[in-house]
């Protein structure tokens, strides 16, 4: 065995790692080779130096950090539901999807119920001059603001189909603020006729305007009890007024009715004929006639048949000459 062959085997002699046969051959060579004995001594010295290396101590934070990261990783493996709803993280997929879903459902519900909403909502034409008879019939002694929601609830189903169709065919006329306000006036003995007006299909018109009631109008109503509803269908007196300009004459007549204390005026405009329906006290009838004559040619159709002591339901048709 040459020294070159011995070099690697000597390293195995340090910890007795050589097989027995090789170990014997190596020891035999060492006995006769000074250089290899020196090499073995150097190997042992190097091994001693290596084994003498001091150990380093782990920093105090090592275990802490390892366990902190282990726990962090363990949290990441928690249930998917918990992760999805963990409040400190922005879980865009589930929360955004939920928001979109809610919006889509709400939109579909709205679209599905839109026809009903349209039917239930008061149209501008209905608002004009609409009495609040139903509202007052259900809760005559309550304030307007409180009666309005209940009235709306009860009015819609109370309307017969024929009445709905009738109103649906009507052209929506201009809405006048005063009329809308007046239509909201409620309370008083005359409103007991509300159910009859319901049958005529005029019930729901003013319900939506009840909130616009003012204290001043309440005072006006107190001064003229029983005039809250126009009662267009059953007029005590039908008057035709022939003028050049029905629209402006209607404005004048309307102002006149208000001056005479008519709390609620219904106005429709159909094919150039403006119809005003209102209630006034009998004592104001003559003054009303006089004023009308100043506006144009007056014809009364049908005899006035007022109930004794009650207000007159007047239907005024203003036609072009």
């Amino acid at each position: 065995m040459t020294c070159k062959e011995m070099e690697i085997r000597l390293a195995g002699l340090i910890d007795d790692a050589l097989p027995e046969e090789e170990k014997n051959r190596a020891e035999a060579h060492l006995r006769s080779c000074e250089a290899c004995r020196k090499a073995l001594a150097d190997l042992r010295a190097a091994d001693s130096l290596v084994k003498g290396l001091e150990e380093v101590e782990p920093p105090p934070w090592l275990k802490t950090r390892v366990m902190a990261r282990v726990r962090e990783g363990a949290r990441g493996k928690e249930s998917i539901l918990r992760r999805l709803f963990y409040p400190l993280h922005v879980k865009v997929p589930i929360q955004a999807a939920a928001t979109v879903l809610i919006a889509v459902v709400a939109w579909n519900v709205y679209r599905a119920g839109e026809p009903e909403f349209r039917q239930a909502a008061p149209s501008p034409a209905r608002v004009q001059g609409a009495p609040t008879a139903a509202a007052t019939a259900t809760a005559p002694d309550t304030s307007i603001g409180e009666a309005e929601p209940a009235a709306r609830k009860k009015q819609v189903p109370a309307q017969p189909p024929a009445a709905r169709e009738d109103r649906g065919a009507r052209k929506p006329g201009p809405v006048r603020g005063a009329e809308k306000a007046d239509s909201a006036v409620a309370g008083g003995p005359l409103e007991a006729s509300g159910p009859a007006q319901v049958m005529n299909g005029d019930v729901s018109k003013g319900a939506g305007t009840a909130a616009k009631e003012t204290a001043g109008r309440e005072a006006a109503q107190a001064a003229a009890p029983g005039l809250s509803a126009a009662g267009s269908a059953r007029a005590d007196l039908a008057i035709s007024l022939h003028v050049k300009d029905p629209a402006s004459a209607a404005d004048g007549a309307e102002a006149l009715l208000r001056d005479l204390g008519a709390p609620s005026i219904e106005r429709t405009d159909r094919e150039g004929v403006v119809t005003l329906t209102a209630r006034i006290l009998p004592e104001h009838l003559e003054a009303f006639r006089e004023k009308l004559r100043s506006l144009g040619a007056v014809r009364e159709r049908g005899p006035a048949a007022p109930r004794p002591g009650g207000p007159l339901a007047i239907r005024l048709e203003i036609r072009p000459e």
């Binding site: 910890d15 001594a41 010295a45």
Partner: protein
């Protein structure tokens, strides 16, 4: 979780020392040890019961250190480091120049310098020799355990180790002079 904490407590020092002797850098060794524990935690379900847990665990840290060595091979501080450079020791202190033989050298300082030289010689070994030398001659694992850790046959472990010892002896002799 608590069981794993006990394992960390029990093995952290040896894990760190394996990494430190392989890398020669304390901070990097801490980092590698930390990553090795985390890798072990994540892979603990793959641990085969018939294997020895410590063997499996140290195999992970050796592998992590080996990967770190590959990553840092191009780093300037490793490329330019020489024995004349001031070096950071395991306790964080910085030593000065190699003790001049004409001066009265402080024994402790000389010991540190020798240890630094030994560490540097170990670091200059090829990775395949270094890891076996660290595991056997520094950490005292058996040949069988080292074979399991590195997935090497016994004969390969031994031949690599003997060569590693021979290279180290030559390296140390060139740095420190006569060893025996």
């Amino acid at each position: 979780m608590e069981a794993f904490e006990i394992l960390v407590e029990r093995h952290q020092k040896r894990m760190l020392n394996v990494a430190y002797r392989m890398l020669g850098d304390y901070d990097e060794a801490c980092d590698v040890a930390q990553e090795a524990f985390l890798a072990a935690y994540r892979a603990i379900r793959t641990f085969r019961r018939e294997a020895k847990f410590s063997t499996w665990l140290y195999g992970i840290v050796v592998n992590q250190a080996r990967n770190r060595l590959k990553q840092s091979q191009n780093q300037a501080r490793h490329e330019t480091r020489s024995f004349d450079d001031p070096a950071e020791m395991s306790n964080g202190s910085v030593t000065g120049q190699v003790v001049d033989g004409r001066q009265d050298a402080n024994a402790e300082l000389e010991k540190k310098e020798v240890q630094r030289a030994v560490q540097e010689c170990i670091r200059n070994l090829d990775a395949e020799y270094r890891e076996i030398l660290v595991l056997r001659d520094i950490q005292g694992f058996s040949y069988e355990e080292i074979g399991d850790m590195l997935n090497l046959p016994d004969g390969t472990v031994k031949s690599r180790l003997f060569r590693a010892r021979a290279f180290l002896k030559d390296s140390l002799a060139s740095v420190l002079g006569d060893l025996s």
